[in-house]
Assembly symmetry: C2
Homo-oligomer: 423 residues x 2
Amino acid sequence: MKPTLSIDGPRLYASLQALGEIGAYEDPYSGLRGVCRLAFSAADGAGRRHVVAEMRAAGLEVTVDRIGNAFGRRRGTNDALRPVMMGSHIDSVATAGRFDGCLGVLAGLEVVRSLNDAKRETLRPVVVAFFSEEEGARFSTDMLGSAVATGRIPLERAYALRDPAGRSVKEELDAIGFRGDADERLTPPHAYLECHVEQGPVLRAANCDIGVVLGVQAICWHELLIIGKSAHAGTTPMSLRADAGVAAARINVRLREMVASGRFGAELRATMGVIAPHPGLVNVVPGRVVASVDIRNPDDGVLERAESELLLFYEEVAREEKVTITHRQTARTPFVPFADTVRARVDAAAEARGLWRQAIVSGAGHDAQEMARVCTAGMIFVPGEYDGISHNPRELSTPEQCANGGNVLLDVLLSFADEAEGA
Amino acid sequence: MKPTLSIDGPRLYASLQALGEIGAYEDPYSGLRGVCRLAFSAADGAGRRHVVAEMRAAGLEVTVDRIGNAFGRRRGTNDALRPVMMGSHIDSVATAGRFDGCLGVLAGLEVVRSLNDAKRETLRPVVVAFFSEEEGARFSTDMLGSAVATGRIPLERAYALRDPAGRSVKEELDAIGFRGDADERLTPPHAYLECHVEQGPVLRAANCDIGVVLGVQAICWHELLIIGKSAHAGTTPMSLRADAGVAAARINVRLREMVASGRFGAELRATMGVIAPHPGLVNVVPGRVVASVDIRNPDDGVLERAESELLLFYEEVAREEKVTITHRQTARTPFVPFADTVRARVDAAAEARGLWRQAIVSGAGHDAQEMARVCTAGMIFVPGEYDGISHNPRELSTPEQCANGGNVLLDVLLSFADEAEGA
């Protein structure tokens, strides 16, 4: 069936550029304009106010819940039915581009605008949502807003989280005026749909327009505290050192080796993003290091095996380097499959529009994986240029790539928004 | 010849404890009380005012030069002769103990007090000095004050150095009121003597009381800037990464291997004290790392060979990790031998007092190596407990160990201070 309605692709792209100016910075290394909207920062507050204003301009009724998640609601012809929700997040890492998260929110808003323009009503209400601190880049807990909304993380525990400067989620939500009064426990929608950039090279390399997302790979984060002995760099013989920096370096090199060896298959990802030695001076052997480990795999069993090997390696390094290594699991999610109905409808919509698509597992975590616990949920991926680079100012999806995602989102949204209860 | 005069050991030790309270902090990891008096910090300012007051109380005439070096002068019976200088530094690394540097300054002051108590005059004037930013822990250039005083570093270049927060030496000297008006170019003294803790395990392990210091080992510092590509940790395949953190880790592990292999002999020291990844987030592949390398060896040729190998390894890592690695040599000093006359007199003084002594090469850099360029200079080492650990709150020399150093300093000072020009 040929679709009769389409979104306004240039309008969607212009809205991505406008939001990307909020929290923008000049990246001195790439010469590009990047985005830094860490959750609950002043820039995030400005971005939120901008999107809320756009929601209201599109006729949506906006509510904000106690963890700062924002929902813009469009009435249905049977307004008592559970809504269909489109969403994602607008917070970013410190060195981001303009697409991650924003596409899902602004494509949802563009779908609403297109329905408005066409005076197209839907049986069910339609909601556009953005969730708080999806990145975990500031408070070390990703998908925070959607995890609170779906009951995985209690509100008070979320409020108490602190950033490296010691500021709490609660204080920072207050500071930007986004600690709302709506109940943080979300009434599950009829369905949840999230359009997102792939953040990887697969779709672009295969020349595909749309990724039909099977699910989100399993993720494990460790925060490591390595304690050795700070000592004078010029005099202390190696045999008497307990160098926490060398211990961290050996773990980092091991992560690389675990991937390169292929003994966990081809899909293992392993990263040490945080390495903070103390005192961090040229002539002092680091006595203490805080470091992070991020490992991911589509297969729960493989990830478990990789984590087990890593735990043994921590012990080996601790013994050999005469340091203590303690770890805290700051994230652990199994593979999350998305609903068959969403996958089938995304596939059908792409086919009807003559788009090339392929099934894909998400390498990154997304709010949709939290929503999948409470309702029918799924995702639509669009390709990214430059090997799908993300969390980087170079992140780029073209106007056409974004429009394709927005159109498939529109089609799938309509299929869910017009079905009666139980359909 | 049996010495007829001795210092007051308990008074010296009490003065070390008193100065150690300035800039003291509770170290949460060791439970010990450490010292943090980074150069030109408020704590350093307080420490300087304390020592200047003690100098004046001992009857010394104090001058401060344009780089903040302070000199307390005691008149000689022929006051026109060049003075004999005793000195060191009172600035510290961020996680220091109470002895490094302070012993040389306060032992010098104790020698003066003992001369005063005994109403012992000297032919030549005697000067007690402390030099600015010996550690290089704040402005990345060690021996800064003595290097300016002896002409190796021009004053304006020193003034322009900035700490990681962007504050300049000149501003910070003004902030603590220690930008003096005396000419920064020191008139070379007749001799320079520095008593110091060994900061290593050799003397304590050999049960020696005094180290007769042959010279200071060669030192080389690199500041590395590694530029890769920040990218999403969950999605970016390893083959497409340019992980600046892994590149730094491989260099750190290589430093360890260069030492452990023994192919540079047993005396190579190699340390990566600074590792600062950007953006430093758990789910972002580090796109940029600033790191430091500190390598040292008593033999210039061996150090050169180690540096050459390292430069080749930087290239290898850059190629393999698809990053760029640029390095800046922030310190490079060859082996500095101390004067035979000082070495012989230290040895003789220790023998006369019945102390065990041994010849030793200094693992750390010292102000004496700068002074050695312009005058007869040498050092006296005392052992440290706990394998001579230093740059650490555990740093400890006993009252007896410190008193031995002070007494040898007194004897050698008198031998130089009573000799006529040309002797």
